[in-house]
Symmetry: C2
Subunit: 346 residues, 2 copies
């Protein structure tokens, strides 16, 4: 009999509320014969304030025992900027080698976009998750003096670039439009740019059915607001991916519906799924947060574990729910979760 | 008697056409007593193909003799990506220490934005122009092999950050709203982020009237499409500035009207003014290019040289011209230039 052994990290702020709804929908969608086991972890601001820890070796070992991780949101104004980001979120991406950071953008019917003309937005960004300027390489000399010099080193390896480019080609190949766009800044960042462009062109030869395209990251932000329908799959580096996926979320309905997966395709370590939004402390505990992004992250999680039918059922339920929202009074976090749970079960 | 000794670099593609209109409007706006001297330079793809050179030491020495530089556009598909960018555009920014890269965004009446609700967009981005990941630091080992490693080093100095932050504070102080936003990614790029944030906070103490704000670059792209009216002056690093100013141009009327200045505030070397758009080889030579961005760059040039009245006259003329475009048949490049020349003279 099948089973899912899930690590649940509600985290901070609205993380608690949205994860509860994600689990509600997950339980509702799973067939009877799938045994769902969950274990909750207290990472985030609470743990940090209580113990000064963000993620210990023992924590990492415990997380490794799970099939996947569902995360709400990490971050609180009471913790200095960067501590939880680098000490937990990024640490986990690196420890568990989450090199495919998957961020789909789809403008669903009934969802408002800030763009005129209701463009047909339906693309996926494959963001590299373990290299680039995110490695923490760099340093500071003469700190705090008028002669301070601070460096950040973007590290790019053929190994790291090729695996994520290959993953993106495979995803493009599996989609109807079969189009892959490389986003970089190879006219300025020529060392990394050459590596990315070269490997992209090499791997392209193995995927003759995939149409390819290259766009500088600055120009990509223009297209994301003037012609987002042109994109199908985008592959890009860690930092560019961070930037353009927030913009992509904004144009395709906002971070209330943006889901993401931090994926280790080899399954050597568990992958982690989380909404793109943060912990939104200003509305925490009020039942105002929209759990949709978390529920869609659960769909990505199920697809990763091989439950394609259930993933699609969640996505259809979300589409239907969003399509019926217009003109109705706002619902609470749990009301939206309840409605989605009913739909996926039905 | 006053004089302006201008270096003119039409460059490639539509550069030729738009610069001609920029000069037309410049001649029309200048008072009789100001003597305008111009000297044209052939930098860009033509020179590169003819001689293999992009910018020689003798070229740089010649350019140094001018009060300012007006540039059309550089770049052509016949030249490998990066050669003219690094060999000319960036080389000049570094040689002439253009550390203030000024990029205003204003949604003028009659101009179409891709955003719903016609937001009141009126901000200026002060982009650092001589540091960050643009310095060319970095390298490649084992090039072309499966073990290639390519690095890009972002270099940030207290000297370089402080002068641009100070410039941005002064600009914010001089504007009615007096608001300055630092855009960075200090939760991940902690070495550079700490330097930027620290200096920003220090300089803020000298400008108690300026309201300050910090936003991560990814979140900034969200605000640029959901609430661009919140921005007044933005200061940011070279790469983040590159990315967000293209987005800013897109939301505030497109690159057809986006002007920029590569400024050396000390006037040790001439500053360079150019439209944000590229050489657009697909429409070159057809009289289809909109010279407005170049004309607005001429306004920035005049303001830099102390001709505030004339700069404002150009900006008013452009506003009036744009406001009357709706519903009229498209005009050619020179027709728009003629109309603007008449307005500024009148
Ligand atoms: C919180 C931060 C470290 C993170 C990132 O920069 O990757 C976030 O912005 C994201 O996109 O997941
Ligand atoms: C052409 C390129 C080198 C340049 C840059 O990246 O600065 C351009 O995009 C710009 O914004 O002026």
């Amino acid at each position: 009999s099948r089973s899912i052994n899930l690590a649940v990290i509600p985290g901070d702020g609205i993380g608690q509320e949205v994860v509860a709804e994600g689990l509600k929908v997950l339980s509702a969608v799973l067939p009877q014969d799938v045994k769902l086991e969950t274990k909750e972890y207290d990472f985030g601001a609470r743990r940090y304030h209580a113990t000064g820890e963000t993620l210990t070796d023992a924590d990492a070992d415990a997380l490794k025992q799970h099939d996947a991780i569902l995360l709400g949101a990490i971050g609180d104004p009471s913790v200095p900027s960067g501590v939880l980001e680098r000490g937990f979120l990024l640490k986990l991406r690196f420890l568990f080698d989450h090199h495919v950071n998957l961020r789909p953008s789809k403008l669903l019917p009934g969802v408002e976009t800030p763009l005129k003309g209701e463009p047909a937005i339906d693309f996926v960004v494959v963001r590299e998750g373990t290299e680039g300027p995110y490695t923490g390489n760099g340093g500071t000399i003469r700190k705090g003096t008028p002669h301070e010099v601070a460096t950040e080193v973007s590290v790019n390896t053929a190994f790291g670039v090729e695996r994520v480019v290959r993953d993106a080609f495979a995803r493009a190949q599996a989609r109807p439009r079969k189009k892959l766009t490389l986003v970089h800044k190879n006219n300025v960042l020529s060392f990394a740019g050459h590596l990315w462009t070269n490997i992209f062109n090499q791997v392209a030869e193995e995927f003759p059915e995939v149409t390819t395209d290259y766009i500088h990251v600055d120009a990509a932000t223009i297209y994301l607001v003037t012609d987002p329908a042109r994109f199908d799959v985008i592959v890009t580096d860690n930092l560019f991916g961070d930037i353009i996926t927030d913009l992509a979320a904004a144009v395709s309905g906002g971070i209330g519906v943006a889901a993401s997966g931090n994926i280790n395709p080899s399954r050597e370590f568990p992958s982690m799924f989380e909404p793109v939004h943060g912990s939104a402390p200003d509305i925490a505990g009020q039942g105002k947060a929209d759990p949709t992004a978390t529920v869609l992250s659960v769909a990505l999680l199920l697809r990763h574990l091989g439950y394609e039918t259930e993933a699609a059922r969640i996505e259809d339920a979300v589409s239907a729910d969003l399509g019926e929202r217009a003109g109705k009074p706002a619902r609470s976090t749990s009301e939206i979760g309840d409605a989605l749970a009913v739909r996926v079960a039905g």
